[in-house]
């Protein structure tokens, strides 16, 4: 076992996969000599060389396009977005090319790429360095979307994503990079976290919280506060946003009959809407209250710290809404 930060867990996973499989390579802006904006690939170029750690021009279209082409030719590509916000420049490559490839080729050509990058707010990153784009890709068939909250999951999910034969959007919450520490297994354990399996991070019976990413930590903080009021929150960490592990959610809903979905992205059209809809379709007769949501306001993430806190969900918001739900 190793004690690592969230960031180090991701770095270890990529490193070990590149050690294990010579077909795995990584491409992105400033990832070689500089080691990437956050240092995920520090030392990679020295170890794996210029061919497998490729510094790219500032063109997300090119980065993702190269990854897709290489994958179609038999490689396993990791495309780093310096900030996930800039994946918008490569949107066509992800949505129209990578996602559709297997379908278009009649099942002959799969695209095993991981498009990964730092996402999310709470670091004063402002408009273009703070967004959570999971809902865009959640909407598209043919993609998988992953966002871990703990180092062990980040480690195991990154390995699973690299080995998966489908395009995976891997969101790394930058607020967690160095704040969250934990242990991960040693390389020889070959630890994998299967995609599509949620994890109950805290059992409870008053209400179910469904969330992912940094919000898992906020939810756990809220759960500790509410415990003193006799409100027992079950916190489900989705880990994989697409495909959704609905069975884990349904089982919890049947137990608690009350659900709070928390996500950091703007409220309207978020992942929470889909989760809420499926719960209503499948578990209607188990509900004792409406499915409620805590999410960001339908706004941009402001630079000013007080405004950022106002727009993004807070532990306070979670406590408040959870309390309403508990007493509904």
């Amino acid at each position: 076992m190793r004690e690592v930060t969230f960031l180090e867990a991701i770095r270890a996973a990529i490193w070990e996969e590149m050690e294990r499989d010579p077909n795995v390579f990584i491409i992105g802006e400033d990832i070689g000599k500089m080691g990437g904006a956050f240092g995920v690939t520090t030392g990679f170029q020295e170890r794996f060389g210029f061919d497998r750690v490729v510094d790219a021009p500032i063109s997300e279209t090119a980065i993702i396009g190269v990854a897709i082409g290489a994958a179609a030719a038999g490689k396993r590509a990791i495309a780093e977005m310096q900030f996930i916000d800039f994946i918008s420049y490569g949107f066509d490559q992800v949505v129209n090319v990578a996602a559709t490839y297997l379908y278009r080729s009649g099942g002959q050509v799969s695209i095993p790429i991981v498009v990964r990058g730092p996402s999310g707010g709470y670091v004063g990153g402002s408009l273009y360095h703070s967004q959570q784009f999971e809902a865009w890709f959640f909407h598209v068939p043919g993609l998988k979307v992953v966002q871990p909250a703990f180092p062990d999951d980040a480690y195991g999910l990154m390995k699973a994503s690299i080995r998966d034969n489908n395009p995976v959007i891997f969101l790394e919450h930058k607020y967690l990079y160095r704040r969250i520490k934990g242990t991960i297994p040693n390389p020889e354990a070959d630890y994998i976290v299967k995609l599509g399996e949620a994890r109950i991070r805290r059992p409870g019976d008053t209400l179910t919280v469904v969330t992912y990413g940094a919000m898992v930590h906020f939810a756990l903080d809220a759960a500790r506060m509410l415990e003193q009021e006799g409100i027992s929150m079950e916190v489900i960490d989705l880990r994989t946003i697409k495909p959704l592990d609905m069975e884990t959610i349904y089982n919890s809903v049947r137990k608690t009959s009350k659900v709070l979905v928390i996500y950091e992205a703007p409220r309207t059209g978020g992942v929470g809407a889909e989760i809420s809809a499926r719960i209503t379709e499948e578990c209607f007769e188990w509900l004792d209250a409406p499915v409620m949501r805590v999410a960001a306001k339908d706004s941009f993430v402001p630079f000013a710290e007080p405004l950022e806190k106002f727009v993004l969900p807070s532990v306070d918001d979670i406590v408040y809404t959870a309390r309403q739900l508990a007493h509904y």
């Binding site: 670091v123 188990w286 950022e308 309403q324 509904y328």
Partner: protein, 442 residues
């Protein structure tokens, strides 16, 4: 948070209540348990206490409105957020790795500054403007499902104590209820719903013997049978008798009956005096005017008096008990008029359901057919019934002299669960004194 003020359950079989008046106006501050609104039903008048502290935001049912049990009467806006514990917002922004990759590992964020003071209470909505207050009448899907699985009727469901918003029955409430029901199977649910008629097996027909006939128990006779059985099996009956010297009353009537008839157009009988004397005594002895329902004693400070009226020449057509309302506020003349009116309407069968509901005490007059003494059955869910018996001239000792006086027995049957013997005795004494002193017109 907005808390609903709900029309409460005010007793068995009560399905609706009428708003008499609001004791608070919109915008006023109210404290929890402070009287908020006066409600009248055909059984009780009550002051409903506020379910929460806050501001009376909106009155939905104004005075005079009749509202079903479980429906909202008003909203109280509480200061829900005020008591929330200090929030633990995210620690302040740390400059983590912002193009700082080379100096890895970047220093971890400094120790978080203390969390800021809680923001002022935001609007109590779930973020989309909806107020969360479903109210008692709302049954959630899971509660409906559990009720169906356990054969719990709507009526039974509405009797389960609710801990949700506005008294809503939550999943936890119904599960607790079922668990209790299971652990105590012999304890009946509070006021079990009457068995539905179709499930009552038809009685095996009795073959009449020579000289017999068989009449099915239906209609009024069936209602009387059921009602008296319930009364007899519910209340713990005791009867106390007191003798009253009614000389002054008899004399007054003899002297004034014709003038009374001419002046007021009403026949003067003894009954209005009994009604009046009893009503005055009931105000002084409110427990005699109470009801014991579901472990709660409902005490009234008003008197609606039921007066038994036999139907048919020989009483063969049964008996009904019309009600004279608010007798404590009425004069002897008003009472005499009301009595004549109900007696007339009872006999020509134009009496309505409302005319026989809501009595708090009952008067019966077996004296009209010469009965000397008896033990009346209480009219459930009242607590007592007063019988006035035949006035008979008797030799009595007054100041050590024998005199002949008209004497009447007053027989009071009362529910010994609520009333002790001395209280009943004092109550009878109070009536006796009123009739003997006969100061109704002073």
């Amino acid at each position: 948070m907005a808390v609903a003020v709900i029309m409460p359950e005010l007793g068995e079989s009560i399905v609706e209540g009428t708003i008499v008046r609001w004791l608070k106006q919109e915008g006023e501050l109210v404290k929890e348990d402070e009287p908020l609104v006066e409600i009248m039903t055909d059984k009780v008048n009550t002051e409903l206490p506020a379910p929460a502290s806050g501001v009376l935001k909106q009155i939905l049912a104004t005075a005079g409105a009749t509202v079903k049990v479980g429906q909202e009467l008003a909203w109280i806006e509480t200061e829900a957020r005020a008591e929330s514990p200090a929030p633990s917002g995210p620690p302040p922004v740390a400059e983590v790795g912002f193009y700082g990759g080379h100096e890895e590992p970047a220093p971890v964020a400094p120790a978080p500054a203390p969390a800021p003071a809680p923001a002022p209470a935001p609007t109590p909505t779930a973020g989309d403007g909806r107020t969360r207050a479903p109210g008692r009448a709302f049954i959630s899907p899971v509660v409906a499902k559990i009720a169906a699985e356990h054969g719990i009727s709507q009526d039974e469901l509405m009797r389960i104590p609710g801990t949700g918003t506005g008294g809503r029955v939550t999943r936890a409430d119904i599960e607790r209820y079922i668990a209790q029901r299971r652990t105590a199977p012999t304890t009946p649910a509070p006021e079990p719903a009457p068995a539905p008629i179709p499930t009552t097996p038809a009685p095996a027909p009795v073959q009449p013997k020579e000289g017999e006939e068989v009449i099915p128990l239906v209609g009024m006779r069936k209602a009387i049978a059921e009602h008296l059985t319930k009364s007899y099996h519910t209340a713990v009956h005791v009867t106390t008798v007191i003798q009253v010297d009614v000389s002054r009353m008899v004399e007054f009537r003899e002297r004034n009956k014709e003038a009374f008839q001419q002046q007021y157009g009403v026949r003067l009988t003894y009954t209005p005096f009994f009604v009046k004397a009893a009503a005055d005594a009931l105000l002084e002895f409110p427990m005699m005017n109470a009801s014991l329902i579901d472990d709660q004693i409902i005490v009234r400070h008003y008197v609606h008096m039921g007066v038994a009226v036999a139907l048919g020449e020989k009483g063969e057509e049964g008996l009904i008990v019309p009600v004279i309302r608010d007798v404590h506020k009425k004069s002897i003349i008003d009472i005499a008029r009301d009595l004549e009116d109900i007696a007339k309407r009872a006999r020509n069968k134009t009496i309505g359901v409302a005319d026989v509901q809501g009595a708090t005490f009952t008067l019966t007059n077996p004296g009209s057919y010469g009965a000397l003494i008896g033990t009346p059955i209480i009219n459930h869910p009242q607590t007592a019934i007063l019988g006035t018996y035949a006035i008979v001239k008797q030799p009595v000792v007054i100041n050590d002299m024998i005199a002949i006086r008209p004497i009447m027995n007053l027989c009071l049957s009362y529910d010994h669960r609520l009333i002790d013997g001395m209280y009943a005795g004092r109550f009878l004494q109070r009536i006796k004194r009123a009739i003997e002193e006969f100061e109704f017109f002073r």
